[in-house]
Amino acid sequence: MSLSSWLTRHAQNAVGALGTLSRNPVATALTVTVIGIALALPAALGVLVQSGRTLAGGWADVRDFSVYLAPGVGLDRAEALARELRVKPGVESVRVISADTAVAELSKDPGFAGALAALEANPLPHTLVVRPLVSVDGAALEKLGAEVQKSNGVDLVKLDLEWAKRLSAVLDFLRRLGFITGGLLIAAVVIVVGNTIRLDIQNRSAEIEVAKLLGATDAFVRRPFLYLGLWYGVLGGVVAMLILLVGLWALGEPITRLAGLYGSSFELGGATGSSLLAVLAGGVLAGWGGAWTAVARHLAAIQPKID
C-alpha cells in the first residue's frame, strides 16, 4: 500500500469515527462531558498549586527577614555583612537600611515623629533586609537564619518561619492530592472510554465479522475504534479546557483582589497555558488507552462464523 493510500485510509477512519459520534449526538455529548469534568478536576488542582507557588514568589516581601545589628556596630560593618550574605546560596538580595534612613522613615509617621524628636541620639540599629530565593524552603531558611545569627555584630535575626512551613505544607498536600485525583480520574476516563467502545464493538459485531470474513486484518478492524477513542479524548480534553477557562475567568478577579491584599500583583493566567495543554494531552492518551483496552479484550472474541 502506498503512503498516500495509507494516509487516505487513516483520514477516512478519523472522519468516519467523527461521523459515528455525530450520529448519536446526545450520547456523545454526555460521554464527552463526563470525560471533560474528569480531566478538568486534576487540572484545576494543578493550576491551584502552580498559582500557589507564583503567589509565594509574589509575596517576596513576606519572605524577607530582618537582621538587626547590635547597637554601636558601624555602617561599614553592615555593608560588609551585606556583601557576605549576597554571595550565600539561597539569598536573592540584601538591602542595607542605615539607622539614619530608618529614623527618617519613621519620623514621617506623625505618631512617632514627636517621640523621636525628644530623643537625643538615634536609638535604631543598622538593619539588613534579606530576601531569600523562592526555592528556599522552611528548613533551609531556618538554617540560613541561624548562620546569620552567629555572624559578628548581629544582634537579632527576625525570621518568620511559620508562614513558609505552612505554605509549603499546603502546596505539598495539594500537589499530592492532584496526583492522586489525577491518577484516579484518568483511570476513570480510560474506563468510560473503554466501556463506551466495548458497547460500540458489540453493536457492530456483525460488521466486524463480515469484514474479517472478507480478509480484514486486525489492524483494519481495530482502527475505527481507536480513532473513536482518540476523538472521545480530544473532545473531552476540549470540554475540560473550556471548564478550566470559564472557572479561571470566574475565579480570576477575586484571586487578583486577594493577592492585592497581600501586597502582591498576581495573575492566574500564567499558570494556565501548560495546564490546558496537559488536559488535552491527558485526554488524548486516556481516550486512546481506553480504546485499546476495549479493542484488545473484545475484538479477538468476534470470529466469523457461517451456518
Partner: protein, 232 residues
C-alpha cells in the same frame, strides 16, 4: 487449486461431519458440491474459508496448506477467496455500493479504482441502478446478487458459494448460475454447494456428491491424484 486430503471434521461434541474426504478442484474448474441436508457441504466450504479447521487431514488452496498458515497470514489468504454466503452477510446499514466496495477497501485499493470496479461488479449482477440503496430495500434475489457482486469485485482466483440460489426463483437461479458460468469462463475456479440437483444437471458441470460426510461420487474427474498425498 482446491484439494482435500483425507479430511475429517468433528465439531465439538458432535459426530463427524466429514469422514476422510478427499477431493480436488482443478484451477479454472467449475464444480458443484451436492448432497442432502447435513451431508457436509457447508463444512467443506467453511474449511476452505478457514472458519473451521479440520480435525484430521489437510486442505490445500492455491498451493497453500491451510493448516500451516499463521494467524497473521489468514486475512491475506481470505482476501484472495471470493465467498458467497447463503445468508448473504450484507451490511444492513450500508448502501449496495458500500457493501460491494468493502473487500476493496480492506485491500487498500484507491478510490477511483474502487468506483470503477464496484460499478462493473454491480453491472454484472444487474444492480447498477441500485447502488445507493441499502440491502433491506432490495428483494431476496437482489440481495443474493449483491452478495455475488461483493464476492467477485476483487477478482478472486477462487470463488466458493454456499447455496447461492437458495433464495431465488427458478428463472433468477438460472440467471445467477449463468453469471457463475461466465466468471468461470474467464478463469475463476469455483466450488458451489447446492442441493438443487435440477439446476446442477442443467449446467452439466462437474459434480461432487457428499453423503453422510463422505464423497459418494465425483461425476467427471476421478480422485486418484489426491489419495494419500499430504499437500505440496
Amino acid at each position: 487449486m482446491i484439494r482435500f486430503d483425507n479430511v475429517t471434521k468433528r465439531y465439538d461434541g458432535a459426530r463427524e461431519a466429514l469422514k476422510g474426504v478427499s477431493l480436488h478442484v482443478e484451477a479454472g474448474e467449475l464444480a458443484f458440491l451436492t448432497g442432502r441436508s447435513g451431508a457436509g457441504k457447508s463444512t467443506v466450504l467453511k474449511l476452505i474459508a478457514l472458519i473451521e479447521h479440520p480435525t484430521r487431514g489437510s486442505v490445500t488452496v492455491d498451493g497453500r496448506n491451510l493448516g500451516k498458515l499463521k494467524d497473521r497470514e489468514i486475512p491475506g489468504y481470505r482476501q484472495q477467496i471470493g465467498m458467497v454466503f447463503q445468508d448473504n452477510k450484507l451490511l444492513a446499514d450500508r448502501s449496495a455500493y458500500e457493501n460491494v466496495a468493502l473487500p476493496l477497501i480492506i485491500t487498500g485499493t484507491g478510490q477511483r479504482e474502487i468506483g470503477r470496479r464496484v460499478r462493473a461488479a454491480l453491472d454484472q449482477v444487474g444492480l447498477l441502478d441500485r447502488e445507493r440503496y441499502p440491502p433491506r430495500t432490495l428483494s431476496a434475489g437482489e440481495q443474493q446478487r449483491l452478495g455475488i457482486a461483493r464476492a467477485i469485485v476483487s477478482r478472486p482466483k477462487v470463488l466458493i458459494a454456499d447455496e447461492p440460489t437458495g433464495n431465488l426463483d427458478p428463472d433468477l437461479a438460472l440467471e445467477v448460475m449463468a453469471l457463475f458460468k461466465r466468471l468461470n469462463e474467464v478463469g475463476t475456479t469455483m466450488l458451489i454447494a447446492s442441493h438443487d440437483l435440477h439446476l446442477v444437471e442443467h449446467f452439466g458441470a462437474r459434480r461432487i456428491t457428499l453423503t453422510g460426510g463422505q464423497v459418494l461420487e465425483s461425476s467427471v474427474a476421478p480422485l486418484t491424484e489426491s489419495s494419500g498425498a499430504s499437500g505440496p
